[in-house]
Amino acid sequence: MLQYTLRRLLGMIPLLLLISLVVFFLAKMMPGDAFAGEIDPSNTNPQYIEEMREKLGYNDPIIQQYGRWIVSFVQGDFGKSTVYKKPAAEIIVQRIPNTIFLAFTSLVITYIFAFIMGMYAGRKPYTLGDNLIGTYNYLALAIPSFVAGIVAIYFFSFKLGWFPFNGSVGVGLEPGTLDYFVSKLHHVLLPALILGLMGTASYTQFLRNDIIENSRKDFVRTARAKGTKESKIYNKHILRNSIIPLITFLGFDIATLISGAVITETIFTYPGIGALFLESVGRRDYAVMMSITMLLSLLTLFGNLVADLLYGVVDPRIRLD
């Protein structure tokens, strides 16, 4: 397995290079650059813009720009944000805790609800309850998160006043205090609920189908024949078997943890990686955009690897070599 892991890790390098090449070229092909569209005739003079473009190398051939970017990227220099005029790495690191907090909370919510719904639906398939759960799940999958986000803000923030609708923390609170933490939790709940409740479909349906499949297996029949209580059969025998494949989903969730939710974060003005990413694309902040892309690509590849390895761990029939 070690050999397999190493081989996979080495295989990531060309893949990452390819991704970076494609993304870089696509980014540069977008019309405009960091200086276009922000022209303020009374404040900006064309010479300055031209000077900066020259200085940042925007006028060089694109392949040369890519070469320059990739060389410094490999050496750990992620470039400087043209918007914030700070190193890109610094800005991203600043935003990561917020995103992880949001993603973690929403994952917990997803897990809990998916678990409950999946168990119920799997135990009583083709009943009204199961159909309702199925309908809900596919509806949630189909509704775009920005619609859900705005509707939720309208009801829970504006009408009922239960949750704040923007930001990640109340104004003026000092980090480290209890108030600060409570405020953080309070701010993260609504976006997390939106993300969490809208993302239960795959987990629920996966768990449901697995439970149904397992419940038809011989060992279940044997247990029933022995007179084991029905609840024990489901909660112990079947669940234990059905939950194992779900573990592999963990791998895929690693990338989700960081990528957060581009749209949801933006609507809630929640300062995380997702909102930063969208902003950097909109304002052609190449350094930040490329750094986030590479980070996400790496995490996705890594997550896939973890998922594959977990398959091998939970199911010895799968050999990794």
Partner: protein
């Protein structure tokens, strides 16, 4: 057993959520109830309530550059509007008036002597002297300076030499004493002052930092020091900036305790106003209806310095020589251009797409400027399709093949490709309305590229004189300087229609010349220029936009004018 453990865990979690929600709610209501009695007590003494914190909403996040010499974003400049101050101010008539310093102009109009106010304090307690301002000017002209504002020092004698590394100091600056600075300019120009950098830098605070490191230094980015009525207290990136009162502000102690600049998604603005989350925000005409429905919010409007127009293509820009070349003949006929404007029902468009919050413009100098020509001097181009058709016919644009659309004087098919950028929902209708108006008078018009064009792409196309943009929608915000040559000068980069006209340039030059130091002469020159523009119509002026602000009724003392809402922010106060 396991099941019940799971359920109790769940229950615990759900309760934790509600507790968290309740907790914060009660704390915020407590804060409000604390505020109220204090408001009542002051109200009984018949003075404006002191204290309180107001929230200013913005739709994009600040970049966190707190020195105007380095920042470029509008949100950063809003924050600076609270924390910084300049040597001059711009009043309601867009005239430049003394603020931190007053000035006298020498006989030869080359040397300005600035006298600074005494006793003005920086946020760190140091006193402001002329040195701080000279320091700022020297920084701007430094070869290592990497901000966008060098052009504000460029006019001073010797600034170029310093920028090119040939001199250590700007020759034209002389510090007479701590409160007196003499500036000598390279050339006599009426707008030398308008093009002079006005914000001093805290020299002591920036001490020991090389110019090339200044933009990223902690002193600029994290603990800035300014002169304004509020100082930066805390910044949470991408979320809010908390500003607190500066007690030693030189015009008097500010009435508010603080200001919070908060980022919110514009789609949520109305809701945020309703429940008091934001107190003031610049709004778009489209939000007017929603906000008028709220009783706790008022809308204040003022004539702004921005206008919309339709550009017409006359040529292209030669990027090597940086000159505009008029080599496209499509719109050469003056009658055609006038007909195109007569064809558009501008009042109807303003009502339909801007909620009536704009005024028809017949020139490109907004009426707020003291140089604006009286409407009686200008042709009003009131909507009149018959007149438009007459003009077309008189210029030889007639329908010869009977397809309902005119041909050009040579009998060739005539078609205009009109471009508009994508953005808010109203743009589609606006663009179609213009196309329809022109088709109605028989000038065949099609939408360039077939749909609204993505904004960045649109700007690229304009920069590169894309042939598809024969006529194009544009808008400018002019700033406070009345000189329009940056936008309409013969060789101006932003003269996107590439209109080259001898009389135009002559009048623009005259408006900046030595004789323009006489205010009347300058005014007359610009009125003449506007009449010329109004007659020639190198671009079709549509309307000047109003600046709109939503303000919570509890916030008083806000004075808005064409340059913004931040005049005398120290007078802002809260009345519950």
């Amino acid at each position: 057993m396991k099941k019940s453990a799971l359920w109790s865990f769940m229950l615990l979690l759900v309760m934790a959520l509600f507790l968290a929600a309740c907790n914060n709610d009660s704390s915020s209501t407590e804060k409000e109830s604390e505020k109220k009695p204090s408001g009542d007590t002051t109200a009984t003494t018949d003075t404006a309530a002191k204290g309180g914190v107001v929230t200013f909403g913005t739709d994009t996040a600040p970049e966190g550059v707190y020195d105007p010499a380095y920042s470029g974003s509008i949100v950063d400049s809003y924050i600076q509007g609270f924390t910084m101050e300049g040597i001059y101010d711009v009043n309601d008539d867009l005239e430049y008036v003394p603020n931190l310093a007053s000035w006298e102009i020498s006989e030869d109009k080359l040397t300005y002597t600035f006298t600074f106010q005494k006793g003005v304090k920086w946020h760190n307690g140091e006193e402001l002297t002329g040195d701080d301002w000279v320091f700022a000017l020297e920084t701007l002209a430094d070869p290592d300076y990497d901000g966008p504002r060098y052009n504000y020092a460029e006019g001073i004698k010797g600034a170029k030499a310093k920028k090119e590394g040939k001199a250590d100091k700007i020759e034209g600056i002389e510090v007479v004493d701590p409160y007196t600075v003499k500036i000598t300019f390279e050339q006599v120009k009426i707008n030398n002052l308008e093009n002079l950098w006005s914000n001093p830098m805290p020299k002591k605070h920036y001490e020991g930092i090389a110019v090339k490191d200044l933009a990223e230094s902690k002193q600029v980015r994290e603990n800035p020091v300014g002169l304004g009525p509020f100082k930066v207290k805390k910044v949470v990136d991408g979320e809010y900036s908390e500003l607190e009162r500066f007690d030693d502000y030189w015009k008097g102690k500010p009435q508010l305790d603080g200001v919070i600049v908060k980022v919110i998604d514009p789609s949520l603005a109305a809701g945020a106003f309703q429940n008091g989350e934001i107190d003031i925000m610049a709004i778009k005409p489209q939000s007017v209806k929603e906000l008028t429905a709220l009783d706790n919010v008022r809308i204040e409007e003022t004539n702004g310095v921005s206008y919309s127009y339709i550009g017409l293509r006359f040529g292209h820009r030669d990027k090597a020589t940086l000159k505009n070349v008029a080599d496209v003949d499509k719109f050469k006929s003056k009658e055609l251009r006038q007909a195109l404007l007569y064809a558009i029902n501008r009042p109807a468009m303003i009502d339909a797409f801007l909620e009536g919050k704009a005024a028809v413009a017949n020139t490109v100098i907004p009426t707020t400027f003291w140089t604006a020509a009286p409407e009686s001097d200008l042709n009003q181009y009131e909507f009149n399709t018959e007149k438009a058709k007459e003009l077309l016919a008189s210029a030889g644009y007639v329908d010869k093949d009977g397809d309902g659309f005119v041909e050009d004087p040579n009998g060739q098919p005539f078609k205009i490709s009109f471009g508009h950028y994508a953005g808010s929902a109203a743009f589609e209708g606006r663009s179609q309305a213009i196309i329809q108006s022109w088709n109605d008078i028989g000038v065949k018009t099609e939408q360039a590229t077939g749909s609204l064009i993505e904004f960045n792409l649109y700007n690229d196309m304009k920069d590169n004189d894309d042939a598809a943009l024969e006529a194009f929608f544009g808008a400018w915000s002019t700033g406070a300087d009345p000189d329009p040559s940056g936008l309409w000068g013969n060789d101006a980069e932003w003269n996107y229609g590439r209109w080259v006209d001898a009389k135009n340039q002559e009048l623009l030059n005259k408006g900046l010349s030595e004789e323009a130091f006489d205010k009347d002469t300058r005014m007359k020159t610009y009125v003449e220029w506007q009449k010329h523009f109004n007659e020639e119509l190198p671009a079709l002026p549509l309307w000047e936009n109003m600046d709109l602000y939503g303000i919570n009724n509890r916030l008083q003392g806000v004075h808005i004018n064409a340059v913004g809402f931040q005049t005398d922010v120290y007078k802002w106060n809260v009345q519950e």
